[in-house]
């Protein structure tokens, strides 16, 4: 349904420390990061985990599953929070 692999971007590569770099789309912007979990991404972004929710490829990753859910190249990630509204 979604062509995760078709997006152009750097291919995954091994760095000197053995960490793999992946390219994701984060809130509509391309971003490269060391391969990590959803929980790891939230931590890397310096966000308070209790005030955000995360969706990967249009599917919610529940808070309890953030540690387990590994991100992959081409993932479309939305990180949202609550703001003022009616």
């Amino acid at each position: 349904m979604l062509d995760y692999g078709a997006r152009e971007g750097p291919a995954p590569k091994e760095t000197m420390t053995g960490c793999e770099t992946i390219g994701i789309e984060l809130n509509g912007e391309r971003r490269e990061l060391t391969r990590t979990s959803v929980a790891g991404l939230v931590a890397q972004l310096g966000l308070r985990p209790e005030v955000v929710a995360v969706e990967v490829n249009q599917t919610l990753v529940p808070r309890a599953e953030r540690e387990r859910r590994e991100l992959a190249s081409g993932d479309k990630v939305e990180v949202v929070t609550l703001v003022g509204g009616g």
């Binding site: 529940p62 609550l82 703001v83």
Partner: protein, 277 residues
């Protein structure tokens, strides 16, 4: 829930609480948190309004500047938070947004908005029906923003909405209750709480909605964009209470001719009464 005012309420002013899902509210005013100057003004306006239920929106986090979270300004022991799906123009986005909100807040409540277009912000009836059905299936308590169409309100109730929330007039327009007769019919047909949502410009609009028999009123811009939001928050609180009491008290019917309050007999100049025309 809110203790202090209940104790002081004499029996002749007693009212039943507003029940929505598992929640019990003694205030019938629901207040949005958008458009305030800052978190401090939000906090003060909510407190003054007397509300026990506040709406919030779901948006992408700001990845650059990290200010305080809105959640820091809302005391959750005091307010039930009602996340909305504002800005969603199709059922699928609204359902996704509701799921995200539920994950942050650990609440089943959602104020469902499926809008037609950004200019009018009028609810899209078909998308609203679809999303209501899906969210109810997923265990949400759906408070659904809708037009003032009475039959649509009935359909939404049948699908399992816990509250039907007709617009008085377009969101943020301040036009008040444009079609009170439609709201009256809706109130007759729908059994779940009917909360007038959107269009409230000033205190009298709240009073009118409550006098019609609405279970509550939800507003945001009317307070947040008033010249003095805190003073308006107090006005809205009082109007909600006044309108509710007037509804419970039962207004007199409208009559074409006068009906003197003072006795017609015993006048010292009874002979002075003019002949009827």
């Amino acid at each position: 829930m809110s203790a202090t005012t209940d104790i002081a309420t004499p029996p002749w002013l007693a009212d039943e609480p507003l029940l929505i899902g598992a929640h019990v509210f003694t205030s019938r005013l629901l207040v949005g948190t958008g458009k305030y100057r800052d978190n401090e003004e939000t906090r003060a306006a909510l407190e003054i309004s007397g509300t026990q239920c506040v709406t919030v929106a779901v948006r992408r986090v700001n990845l650059d500047g990290k200010g305080p979270s809105l959640l820091d300004a809302i005391d959750r022991s005091r307010y039930v938070i009602l996340p909305n799906t504002a800005g969603c123009y199709d059922a699928q986005s609204a359902v996704r947004t509701a799921q995200l909100a539920r994950d942050v807040l650990e609440t089943n409540l959602v104020k469902l908005e499926v809008l037609g277009d950004p200019k009018t912000l009028l609810p899209d009836p078909v998308g609203t029906l679809e999303a209501t059905k899906e969210l109810v299936k997923q265990g949400f308590d759906v408070l659904v923003y809708t037009s003032d169409d009475p039959r649509l309100g009935v359909r939404l109730e049948e699908l399992g909405a816990v509250a039907v929330m007709p617009a008085g007039s377009p969101i943020g327009s301040g036009q008040g209750i444009l079609n009170p007769n439609a709201i009256r019919i809706l109130l007759e047909l729908v059994r779940v709480p009917v909360i007038v949502d959107a269009g409230v410009g000033t205190a009298s609009d709240v009073a009118i909605a409550m006098e019609l028999g609405a279970a509550g009123v939800l507003l945001n811009t009317g307070i947040a964009s008033a010249r003095e939001p805190l003073r308006m928050a107090a006005a809205m609180r009082d109007a909600c209470s006044a309108g509710r009491q007037a509804f419970l008290a039962g207004r007199i019917p409208r009559k074409l001719y006068a009906n003197a309050s003072s006795p017609a007999d015993g006048l010292i100049h009874a002979a002075g009464r003019p002949d009827p025309a």
